[in-house]
């Protein structure tokens, strides 16, 4: 297995996958900077809450795009060079699948970590109210990663099964938009859509007072049943996808 992962790393040589992640993090940073720039000192007191509310929203579209691009970059070289028919005479097909997933997760982990770094960096720079909420940021990292890895698993399955990478890219984008729009749907409905789990597992809620037009953020209770459901999603996608890949004839 270690050899298989090391070879995945070698295959990414010159593929500039980290650049994709970095660019997307840049976008996220610009957006965060812009969103915070029209806040006054009063709002900044709730700065941490604001970020922990807004970042998951943006993740609905940003993370599926990263997942789609990374999975596609990792899998496309195999289709292009028709390598599966040789690899599968050397390594068990499920190990090829696992190794790719493990290496792909590293990028998703990098992206989630990058977001936390952006939040902490900006929070300290702009003197958000209160100490750094390490617990909530840890929770953010954990939930973001849980959702992102599930979406990544989905993307990898599609990228491995279809030689034409337009299929996974399209599905990834469509999924992201559905996730974004599902924010306007009721909670119960959101739980059926994989891409809306960034919203489902949010730790911060928002009140908007119609009269005073004041926005107020507050800590919510974590939706653990949603988390369990996400776990089920992951198991099904990974399990079924891997079986499909192993059974596929090349």
């Amino acid at each position: 297995m270690r050899a298989a992962i090391r070879m995945e790393i070698l295959k990414t040589k010159g593929r500039k996958i980290w650049l994709v992640v970095a660019v997307m993090m840049g976008v996220q940073m610009l957006w965060a900077g812009w969103a915070i720039s029209n806040k006054d000192a009063n709002d900044l007191v709730q700065g941490w809450l604001f970020f922990l509310y807004q970042f998951p929203m943006l993740n609905c579209i940003i993370m599926p795009v990263i997942a789609a691009v990374v999975a596609s970059r990792l899998c496309e070289v195999e289709h292009k060079g028709q390598t599966f028919k040789l690899l599968e005479t050397i390594v068990p097909a499920n190990r090829i699948f696992d190794a790719k997933f493990i290496w792909g997760s590293i990028y998703m982990f990098g992206a989630a970590l990058g977001q936390v770094a952006i939040m902490i960096g900006m929070g300290l720079m702009l003197h958000f109210g209160g100490p750094v909420p390490w617990g909530a940021l840890g929770g953010y990292l954990f939930f973001t990663l849980a959702v992102s890895l599930t979406i990544y698993a989905f993307q990898q399955v599609v990228s491995m099964l279809f030689a034409n990478q337009m299929v996974p890219m399209t599905l990834g984008l469509v999924g992201g938009f559905i996730g974004l729009f599902s924010m306007f749907f009721p909670q119960g409905f959101q739980k059926f859509i994989l891409w809306s789990y960034y919203g489902v597992l949010m730790q911060v809620g928002m009140n908007w007072d119609q009269n005073t037009r004041a926005i107020d953020f507050y800590w919510t209770v974590i939706d653990w049943s949603g988390f369990v459901l996400l776990f089920v999603f992951f198991g099904l996608i990974y399990g079924i996808g891997r079986i499909l890949f192993v059974r596929r004839e090349v």
Partner: protein, 304 residues
């Protein structure tokens, strides 16, 4: 001598049609086995099943005398190198890096990389990106990947695909040297008999999924000599006369092709023809070309 590959009733169905049917492949140890058939006959499908890349609809496969199942498949394949249909490669990596991937996954010594690069004469191009390789170079890289572990069995599916005449000649010489040099057994598929003539020691011919011939190349050569061509002043009457006497015939231009027969029998025929005032003007011993035989066996031309 034992068989390196043995299949029994190997069959594969794609969408309700048997593309490979009841194939009993026998590849003896140390042989160069020429696996022949026209496009779409089922060569690649058969070889993929042997490698476990496609699941047989029916039948059994034994490699190195062991029945292959999903559990021991990869263990068995440790001693098998393969190149199916087209070479597998990572275009964005160099030739050497490509081989490094397969060498590491196979768990064979690193020095094999340089050795096989020398064997296929790519050592001067090993640091070039494979996407910049010519088709022939990619094909040779594919062969190098197959040779990496010095396998006991090498399965090459149309290895001369895309090679120029010089490349084909080079590939032939290379394949020919493998059994002696490394003790390998080689299966080479092709849709041209001429390509494996003088190369293969044993031939299997597949036609529409069925194995129609499997024996030594020598037997095939012998088979190609057994015909007579006769021309008479009235071939029409001669045809019915031959049929009445139970002699098979076939028209080829102005000639009737009949099987080789004893001199006494031929004398009898010419005598009767003379009695009926049909002048026998030519009798020739025809040696069918191997290609003719192949065409007949594969059904692309009229059959005898």
């Amino acid at each position: 001598m034992s068989n390196v590959i043995e299949t029994e009733g190997l069959s594969k169905e794609y969408g309700n049609v048997y593309r490979v049917k009841d194939v009993d492949l026998l590849v003896p140890e140390g042989a160069i086995y020429g696996f022949l058939g026209p496009n779409g006959a089922g060569k690649s499908t058969t070889l993929k099943m042997v490698l476990g890349l496609a699941k047989p609809t029916a039948g059994e496969i034994s490699v190195f005398g062991k029945r292959v199942n999903s559990k021991n498949r990869l263990e068995n394949l440790k001693n098998v190198g393969s190149l199916i249909e087209s070479p597998s490669y990572y275009g964005h990596l160099t030739g050497a890096e490509n081989l490094q991937i397969f060498q590491t996954l196979r768990g064979v010594p690193k020095q094999n990389i340089d050795e096989v690069l020398k064997i296929v004469r790519l050592d001067n191009q090993k640091n070039k990106k494979v996407s910049q390789y010519s088709l022939g170079m990619k094909q040779r890289l594919g062969l190098a990947s197959a040779l990496l572990g010095y396998p006991k069995l090498l399965i090459l599916d149309e290895p001369t695909n895309g090679l120029d005449p010089a490349g084909i000649q080079e590939m032939r010489e290379l394949i020919q040297s493998l059994p002696k040099k490394f003790g390998m057994t080689v299966v080479v598929s092709s849709h041209l008999l001429s390509e494996i003539d003088q190369l293969a020691t044993r031939v299997g011919i597949i036609r529409e999924g069925e194995l129609v011939y499997q024996d030594s190349l020598m037997k095939l050569h012998q088979y190609s000599q057994q015909h007579l061509a006769v021309r008479t002043m009235n071939n029409e009457v001669t045809k019915s006369f031959l049929s009445q006497n139970g002699v098979d015939w076939e028209v080829q231009d102005d000639y009737l092709i009949i099987p080789q027969m004893k001199d006494s029998m031929m004398a009898e025929i010419s005598k009767v023809l003379g009695q009926n005032n049909i002048g026998l003007v030519r009798i020739e011993e025809r040696k069918k070309s191997l290609e003719d035989i192949f065409l007949e066996l594969t059904g692309t031309a009229v059959s005898l």
